[in-house]
Symmetry: C2
Subunit: 211 residues, 2 copies
């Protein structure tokens, strides 16, 4: 960016990626500046603040980076080239796959990286809550599409279905952290999708218990 001046001695992009991994693993508050600077290439405090302004600004950048890379898996929920059912299933499976990969921290950064926050950093919590809300919106649109195109009956309780699948999706983060392997979650997703089929097959009747 700058046309003159001493060149930066580290790669800003790589440093950001390293910081993202730390935030993902330990969360915003429990990741210290010293830890970050060490992982970002042993850069000095001066270099850090010159390049990233503050810990909070770095965190926001790290969240954006996560969303545009690992977090893209949830975009399957709004893939209109698939049936809504396939979009839902693919979004869940891809999320489970990504969250259980061992090449990076387990679980979802948007769910895990600001759970424990002191009161004065409530806005950090809110930041991630808003991002999760965006994903919920995509899930909602996915269900609405299903009702609109006849995959699910008009009588479908949309918000109920949204909460059902979203709650399972959120639970994957804790399960991944607890060491549950992909295959186990994948099998559970297969079974969970039977709910969709029950809904589509039996208009107006929510569960087989009532049939």
């Amino acid at each position: 960016m700058p046309r003159t001046g001493r060149p930066r001695s580290f790669n800003r992009d790589e440093a950001l990626a390293a910081a993202m991994l730390l935030f993902w693993e330990y969360g915003f508050e429990s990741t210290s500046l010293a830890q970050l600077r060490a992982a970002m290439g042993d850069i000095s405090a001066a270099s850090f603040y010159a390049a990233f302004e503050s810990k909070e600004a770095l965190f926001r950048e790290a969240v954006d980076r996560y969303i545009s890379t690992y977090g893209h898996v949830t975009e399957s929920f709004r893939d209109t080239s698939l049936t809504s059912r396939a979009a839902m299933e693919l979004g869940l499976r891809q999320s489970a796959r990504m969250q259980t990969e061992t090449s990076h921290p387990l679980g979802c950064l948007l769910v895990l990286s600001a759970v424990n926050c002191s009161p004065e950093q409530q806005h950090i919590r809110d930041l991630l809550s808003k991002e999760r809300e965006r994903v919920r919106g995509w899930i909602k649109e996915c269900i609405e599409r299903a009702v609109a195109n006849g995959e699910l009956p008009e009588s479908t309780d949309i918000s109920m279905v949204v909460i059902l699948f979203e709650t399972f999706l959120r639970g994957i983060s804790t399960q991944a952290r607890d060491g549950v392997p992909y295959e186990a979650i994948d099998a559970a997703i297969t079974q969970l999708m039977s709910v969709w089929d029950a809904l589509s097959a039996k208009p107006g009747i929510r569960g087989m218990a009532e049939s």
Copy 2:
């Protein structure tokens, strides 16, 4: 306990309860000693350490207190006076109810209070992970009971069913924190239980999609 000496000027039980609520809301690391002492009745540092030994020891006590009070809801999973299906359903509903109550922090302390931990406090994370594992064991026993007494067919993939229900259960914590009301989760549970009925009605066939 002590027969002689100056009496304690605060109620240890009440102080512990107050500490538990703080840990529940903000987590182990993000709750400071100053914050704890203030909430525990403005007790001095000396009083704190005399009564509770250390922050970590207090946290362990707080976890035990949680388990024996708010956390008891999951014991429904091992209520053998109910059908396994009823035990599963009740455990989920009671957990959802408790976690969405506004008289205390939202979500589950065992899931939320040690998500963000610095590397040197990994054992705190492990502590809660072990507690979650206990609950998983109860869920597993619940499913095994169902297979043993014929509620679910012999062909049931037990670990798959365990992960399915447990993942949903874990997701409730994040949903509660994000403001999802009890009624919404409750409706989703009703639908989720249709999976159980599908499993019990169609031995060997996992989902209606395949029927």
